[in-house]
Subunit: 347 residues, 2 copies
């Protein structure tokens, strides 16, 4: 990446902000020297952190604001009252073109509301969706929606399929990503009506989408398809169930290695392999959920992540910006509008 990419950061969002934000920015810039940042938030707190990072000094502009969105703020309240919050100003920077993308570890609902208000959706997209990566036996899969829309109709699911496919093609670098609809069985007759309707539409579409039909919950980790499409209620629960199961087995594994002298000796020998395994399923590695379908790149970092996790979220934003993701999405939906969604397009 030779060009200079400016990324707007919500300096105050997340449990470990502003440390995780500033130190994450420093780590991201070590990996990608072309990055520069506008960090929004409390300058008195941000300045010493930036000054402590020799890599950052020349690449950061601090934009002071006293206001922050709290985790308990309702999206509607944040939207009305939060015009000077660090979160809102980061999104405004994308809207004005001062930044290529925004990253926040703050309140998801408020971020989505502000992003929708400030950036609007791409023509043809009724609702944005949250999309993120999952580790699989074959590499990585992305899934959407992970919680932006608790109820979705067939049109929403169809649009998510188009959005997810474009994301996998540009941000994940997959030539012809395969797409599956999450369902309770792979047979045509099973599942909810909206899922069945979306499947019919995806089978009949003349869009260049490699639609593989229905997939089940265990297909996510199997990597059966590159893009798993579902509603935000199911997707959020699948995401958190996977996280919970992963943590449970890690806890069981730790207990197993502590369970006898022999096991403890075994751990000493296998330690490096186990550390690599830990990195392989480290949630920080998959940090950075994208709000897809907007007229701009907004990445939501996990609220509890540290600098490494935040750096990865910045990396997702930087990749998407350098790939010209928004222009590609717009192009896709112009094509989609003409074929499928005429009635749903904003105009």
């Amino acid at each position: 990446m030779a060009e200079r990419l400016t990324i707007a950061l919500d300096g105050m969002g997340g449990d470990n902000a502003p440390e995780s934000v500033v130190n994450g920015a420093a780590m991201a810039r070590e990996r990608t020297p072309g990055l520069s940042f506008i960090i929004f938030g409390d300058e008195a707190k941000l300045r010493p952190l930036v000054d402590a990072q020799p890599h950052l000094k020349d690449a950061v502009e601090i934009h002071h604001t006293d206001d922050v969105v709290s985790n308990s703020d309702k999206p509607s309240y944040a939207l009305r009252k939060g015009k000077q919050t660090s979160m809102r100003l980061a999104i405004d920077a994308v809207q004005s073109g001062d930044a290529t993308s925004a990253v926040s570890a703050g309140n998801t609902g408020a971020l989505m509301a502000m992003a929708m208000f400030g950036l609007r959706t791409i023509p043809g997209v009724e609702r944005p969706a949250i999309c993120s990566f999952f580790p699989t036996e074959r590499g990585e899969t992305c899934m959407l929606d992970l919680g932006a829309n608790v109820a979705c109709d067939a049109d929403n699911l169809l649009q998510f399929a188009v959005m997810g496919e474009a994301f996998a093609r540009t941000a994940m670098g997959i030539d012809k990503p395969t797409v599956g609809l999450l369902n309770v069985g792979v047979e045509d007759l099973k599942g909810k009506d909206e899922v069945k309707l979306a499947a019919t539409a995806l089978r009949e579409t003349n869009l260049p989408i490699e639609f593989k039909g229905f997939v089940e919950g265990d297909d996510i980790a199997r990597g059966t398809v590159d893009v798993v499409v579902t509603d935000g209620f199911t997707g959020n629960i699948a995401l958190k169930t996977a996280e919970g199961t992963s943590r449970l087995i890690s806890a069981f594994l730790r207990q197993a290695f502590q369970s006898s002298i022999m096991a403890k000796i075994g751990y000493l020998f296998a330690r490096r392999a186990m550390q690599k395994l830990k990195l392989r399923v480290d949630p920080r590695r998959y940090n950075g959920a994208v709000l897809l379908g907007l007229n701009g790149i907004v990445v939501k970092s996990h609220g509890g992540t540290d600098a490494l996790g935040f750096a990865n979220a910045i990396g997702v934003a930087a990749d998407m910006a350098s790939q010209g993701f928004i222009a590609k999405m717009k192009h896709d939906f112009e094509h989609v509008r003409a074929t499928e969604f005429g009635s749903n397009a904003p105009e």
Copy 2:
């Protein structure tokens, strides 16, 4: 268990039937000598398998039938044409009182349809639900519905809570089981309308239910509550996502132990601990999903399980029968009907 408990087995259901069924019955009887079985299916195949099990001979009655439900049969077809199938006859044996309970590893949809038709629901229960165990950090949790009902309203969820609570109390032996509703956040304002309505009803009820409010996907493995209540679409996807994640991490762990000479040596030392870990998350250990809400005990075994898994499913059926589960459920719903569900009661 001193009394003699007769269990009806679908001898032909499942990928490994009839071997898994007969050998599973033998294993179950070794653990619980009071058990006896009526096995329905092809006598020419069943007889030699039974004869090969010295523990079984005196405790098994084989009831010959040529008909079987196939995995591709639609529930409606199985119900109409399947009156002499091994599955249907096993359920009929519960209905007639010849058996205390039935176990099948066959087609889930057909089993549910036949069980509903043959046994009917308990007064006050609109729809039965599938309930099963999950390993957690604290022991075991049960979740329902795991796939019987793809769409559920607030009343259904409320009834599932009552059913699941009774199940945890009797079959899991928990004095005052805690109950949570699966949602995309723990705050009151989040989630689908039917989930929010069900929560309000559970908070206001005068039933002796320890309702803990909303839980999220990661609370399943955490064991935050004893009973997780959700609709069948979400529950099925959560179940399979957990299974898939567990398999993925197991695969990563195997690869890690193969990744270097040191890791291989480590495995030699830790082998016994790892084998115990494997048993701890072995899906066969949690085999046996109960069709809850019916006027009789019907347990669905995983279709791909082996004799050990099938024996565990028989164990669930035997526990519920010996605890007088159906009488307790009926008692609960008499109480429930008077307070909550008057309008939904079947008559």
